[in-house]
Symmetry: C2
Subunit: 168 residues, 2 copies
Amino acid sequence: MNAKTAAKLSIPMQMREDCSIKKSMDIIGDRWSVLILREMFLGTNRFADFQRNLGIAKNILSARLQKLEEHRIIEKRPINAETSWNEYLPTEAGEDLLTVLCALIQWGDRWLQDDKAPPMLVVDRQSRKPIDGLMVTRKKRPLKREDIRFWPSARYKTFEQQEAEQYL
Amino acid sequence: MNAKTAAKLSIPMQMREDCSIKKSMDIIGDRWSVLILREMFLGTNRFADFQRNLGIAKNILSARLQKLEEHRIIEKRPINAETSWNEYLPTEAGEDLLTVLCALIQWGDRWLQDDKAPPMLVVDRQSRKPIDGLMVTRKKRPLKREDIRFWPSARYKTFEQQEAEQYL
DNA sequence: CAAATTGGTTTTTATTTGAAACCAATTATT
DNA sequence: AATAATTGGTTTCAAATAAAAACCAATTTG
């Protein structure tokens, strides 16, 4: 067995299905979901405001909000007892997506803004001063590509794979 | 002017266009791009391997690779001098998307895996031990929703906005 | 040398998106 | 109090996009 064959064996196809990136993309991997969440973090909560602020078609917005609700990323709840109107709020899982949005902001600020200042700042809620040192860290050091690799978890251990590992 | 009016004034529509999340999503906001990048981080570099490992249609894969190349996230280069065949490699900007993928992994591991162990680990390249303490931090403390808010940068300062800020 | 694989493109079909019309409930204006 | 405007959608239809399949030339494997 050569190293190339070993590398192929070592990544189980099933892992590609189970993978959290894949599962996340099945939910938010479209043109609008992430922008809807950004809008929510900007303080938008009502249907018409999402529509106006994003320029999204109503039927698509409706479908996306439903999907996000089904997956418990947002919650739809009546604005008050009198009306039948609703507002949309992030659940705990939804709020936790802040990290993904921040990672996107940082990446985009670095690579897509043509040396211009970032258009949208992440600021401290109290002081409203920009948050510096915001990063994905690995034990207090920023994570670099060469530090890590992705690896199947123990649930995919097979004889062939264990055999293969010694070649890597 | 009440607080609600102020809040609407304070977010310039232009910022929503310039925003790095929006710009990022214009490039990688589809069902496949992020998965193609994940595949690349798993060690896949050739057309047929992407296709097999992802189950993506060839024409779509072709289109996505081209788009990613245009935006300098990946690079297409000949495998060797003799053949016309290519391999696809991440650029510096592409490798930098690791943070976004890691944020997605962490989020998905927390919210989409039904109390099961994560299917794909982020491990140290040398020791192959899982990396712990990997997170989006704010000065060494994990970032929480209630810590921050998004805020337009100075380039959108207008009279109305400055007026509005005092109400927030 | 023959067969299989790679790296695509082209054509056709199915799916998704978007625009517009429509409507009922609610709120604002005169 | 009546009218107009806004909100929160759904439905219908056209346009754009994605997927499947057929096809092909270059390259590699048996």
